[in-house]
Symmetry: D2
Subunit: 362 residues, 4 copies
């Protein structure tokens, strides 16, 4: 093998603003810095199962994608190629497609593959690395819940979308003396709810990490009312941890209504019933995963993309780029996966929020 390499890039999992910026930066660095060829692997790793779908990425084909949401490579819902759902003789069966993937990577001449994705995608990358594929990872999680990296791209953009929505609800709530409930993303970690709540000036923030008592939330709202503050903004994460007074209803709601909005609607109903105040619920849903990435996310994506190429150039495989403090570093994928970063109820952010009067219902 000479110095001229061919590398592949793949994106997996849910949407996240900044994916295209990573693709662009890695492609530009590979071409301009090293003169390598770059192959865009389409639809997660499907492009290694059907290699004819993959295509070369050139300076032209990545032009203009920096500010765009989504991913020009696409992703898949079929999931794990180690346990891939295929239809054979009319039946859906599960196959391990790793051999095909390794074979096709060789046919495409891939010297290394950059895999951009979350926990699940990185675990697949790790398995492929163990079987001989030269893999480098770029972490992606819009919920900011990966412990290996201080922060990843997409989170800041999601904060913008949520904060903008809270700003819009604020004046209506104030003018119309209403309780406004906003459900934001975060099944297991409350980072978006906590930070968007702080940024939007929410009065109540309910997150998975802090068990709340709905009575305490109602008391807080009624005390506000009493002091002439006739409105309240409540930010609710998708995953909440109700105390005994609401837990049964929550389990029932999730069973009967297994859609986004379960947490927000439950809280809305409970607050309306107990406070006799007018309540409106907004469920932001996938709007939070879209949009043009913020400057912060574009810059971080660009750094990650370039550093992933540097890892390949230095021959450091089985590693993932990560932001530590102000520096981009490399960590072992094996170490990085699985460890979740959750809000520390005794940490600085929650302390700051309590200091300015935010109610967590505990």
């Amino acid at each position: 093998m000479t110095d001229t390499k061919t590398i592949g890039i793949s994106t997996g999992g849910g949407d996240c603003p900044g994916l295209n910026a990573v693709i662009r930066a890695a492609t530009r660095a590979a071409i301009l810095q090293y003169g390598w060829r770059v192959i865009g692997i389409t639809d997660g790793l499907d492009g290694l199962i059907w290699p004819e779908r993959s295509r070369e990425l050139t300076m032209d084909s990545i032009s203009g994608i920096l500010p765009r949401g989504g991913t020009i490579l696409g992703t898949t819902n079929r999931g794990n190629p180690l346990r891939y759902k295929v239809t054979e003789n009319g039946c859906e069966v599960v196959r391990d497609l790793t051999p095909q993937i390794m074979e096709n990577a060789r046919k495409l001449g891939l010297d290394a593959v950059i895999i951009i994705g979350g926990d699940g995608t990185q675990a697949i990358g790790l398995e492929l690395f163990r079987r001989g594929l030269k893999v480098v990872g770029v972490p992606k999680t819009i919920d900011n819940d990966l412990s290996a990296t201080d922060v990843t791209f997409g989170f800041d953009t999601a904060l913008h979308t949520c904060t903008d929505a809270i700003d819009k609800l604020f004046s209506t709530a104030e003018s119309h003396h209403r309780i406004m409930v906003v459900e934001v993303m975060g099944r297991d970690a409350g980072w978006i709810a906590l930070q968007a709540g702080l940024a939007g000036g929410a009065h109540v923030i309910l997150i998975p990490e802090i068990q709340f008592n709905i009575r305490k939330v109602c008391d807080f709202i009624l005390q506000r009312d009493h002091r002439g503050r006739k409105f309240t903004i409540v930010v609710v994460a998708e995953g909440i941890r109700p105390g005994s007074d609401l837990r049964a209803s929550y389990e029932q709601e999730k069973r009967m209504y297994p859609r986004a909005g379960a947490a927000g609607n439950l809280i809305g109903d409970a607050l309306g019933m107990h406070t006799k105040k007018d309540v409106r619920v907004t469920v932001l849903g996938h709007v939070q995963r879209g949009g043009s990435p913020s400057p912060f996310d574009r810059i971080l994506s660009t750094r990650f993309g370039v550093e992933a190429v540097e890892l390949i150039a230095r021959g450091e495989f089985g590693k993932m780029v990560a932001l530590r403090g102000r520096r981009v570093e490399a960590v072992d994928i094996a170490e990085a996966c699985g460890a979740m970063k959750r809000v520390n109820p005794g940490g600085e952010m929650v302390r700051i929020a309590r200091a300015i009067g935010v109610c967590f219902g505990d």
Copy 2:
């Protein structure tokens, strides 16, 4: 009475970006142009029931409100002062408070009152006018469903919010091969759904004015899929008119789930079931009623506010300002109320949408 007048301003009904801009323009015109005094009537017409809550509006007190959502005057949920809910001896009873209102208007020295509000509020204004209050109306409807005026403030801003959400969902839908359903406002008229759908490039638009067949929508989506367009954006008004194949489920959904989101979630479930594709639903809710008004809405609000003052100066009461073509005119409140402007299924907008391939499911 000399030339120096005292006028009151009141805002009623749901929130709508531009209310503060009307208040500001009317106050400035009254003070700067005519040297009148202006009284801000708080919380709908409550400020005429408890006149001590009303306060003078000065150049200072309206400074900086032009770009802000909500209304500095507040509104009320108690509704119609002709049938006002009051608590007497622990019981809620209904009273006609018109006499108090007329009396307090006299005590406050109000020569005229500008009433900013929707259909219901204008009907109350009309009744007060018939009983002797010198009333001038400013129409407000975020749904754009008032036939008396070509368009009112707030609608353009709502379009921005909805179009922005569709833009954000678009790239995710495309990258992830998904159906994205967005429920927007519009119980009786589909203006927001139709125009935001056109502006956002939606593929399917479902509105109250056009009965749809869910099978036709599914066929349309599957044909797109067949042509390689693996994603679809569906904009759904709150009020929809399902054909026989979905009507029963819709009625049941509305009964069991009387919250915002009924229409969007129903359509989402039905499309997911029939097309076997991944579906995500976003319910924008009250976010659509908030936010800083768009330039168009600020300018229209300013025109309405100034013209309302001009009507008072000319002694034309019982009238409402309205936009006709490019001009602001005065119409009788009596005529203006009640007539609803709905989307014409055979009109230009629907024709344009069909010409570029939008599916209405009919």
Copy 3:
């Protein structure tokens, strides 16, 4: 000729948000409604001089362009093909390339051409129409100064950009007791300055249609100061009409400093000198011509694009689409060109602005 047509689309002149939306709508309507072929003529009419540069527009090639600024077809700076600058034997000479254009249009099989552009571009289209090309026009002017149409796409988006800038300057001006001068587009017509000024709450608006006296502007600012309003927002059109006290300096400034910013900087200097207050100048420049089109502009562009195709279908050539009141109509290009729509100093908009206290310096 059978019913199956081939049509061309061309964009000319300065940038304007909504060009891509017109291209998309016309292409979709031509393909989906009529089954026609559509050729994208590149770089103004250059694509008819070098027909090999032109390419077919398909459903795929226009996918995703609706929200994007610019034009996928490109434009040219070489200008008028009737007097085209070409380099022959090292010298730049001027040639009439109409014969080549007519010839190439025939070679490309174009049954009709939609020409999207401003006054100058439409005049060229008219000349080509007179020589036999079947031309349909779509008007474009970001300044909103075409009398044939009530409004065109791009203007509303430009208003957003300018209003957003004024909003940003407002709080700084207020906190820091400053005069903020913003120069916006408009050499001959003050529409953007007037409407953005109204939407942003500017205190002073200087436009080409109203001659101003800098002393009167200074007096106005000092009177504000005296009343405790220590800041002033001044919106200045590129083209201004200073009275005798500033005219000489303006002419000198334009000679010595023939760049964007001449008007804004001159006013800034004069106000600083006379009022002894701190002044800051912002020159928005081409930012006003870019960005994702607003919902209003996207819808108007879509209507224009579809209606242009309808004109071709009906065989009405030499016509241009135009917005009249709420309807899109067809007007003769011959009539439409040349007549400029300027702000009427005695009209409604200026009257409204004066009523709320805006100073025009007259």
Copy 4:
């Protein structure tokens, strides 16, 4: 002195999004957490020279200020109270007003003062601290050039404004084959130019820390042209460091044209002359200092505000809050002042930019 304190808050220097968020957070924490009184010192430290202008900040008076640009306390241009310009007998003389300030702080009962401001303001705070005032500092610099803190509020919002402008110019540049020059803030440090350039996908970035050769920039642009990339985005900091081929013109430009825009216009003229391409220049100016703070800036401001109150509670005066990595810490004001943080031409950010092909002209 009992536990109940009275504290003052003051804002000094240029505008910066997030000032109101600091005021709000400090006031809320002081009132809700400790039960202290809070005095808003108006117009920099003028409110200590004329104490009757200062006023108490309550939960009500800070309501709704979180998302607003500017500062509700105002600032001053008179500058340093140690060398304050006052008019005596018609002459402007310079006085040291420290004695009055100390006296008035005592009269107002201030136990401590939070001073929010840049380098100059902190130096004044330090002097007052040395003379006995209990001062705590909050750093403010929109240019991000203070070495004591990793980043301060306002910078992220400025990046948004600049990136948004570059996004808007991008499609116009591409469609119209133009060179677009954008001048952004940064007299001594190129952080905004570098990061906004990266976020916006600029092709050329000129900053004070890297001397450039205009010929090299022109060559870069012409090579792009040659490869079919007919447009270029050039981001220019206010302060640039031209090599010998442009230095004389730059000095002359700054002398003859001592306004914002000198750097951008000079570069624009030079590029136009040498490349014969169409160039447009945008000078963003004070728009960059305004606007609603971004979520990141609101959260950082909130943390700074709360931590400043904590410093007072712990009796740590003469200190300034600062962000170090992910933590807010306290640093000596004496140490913090003066040391400027500039872009390291050999650091990570510049290396990343070069890797993706950005030209710095060196």
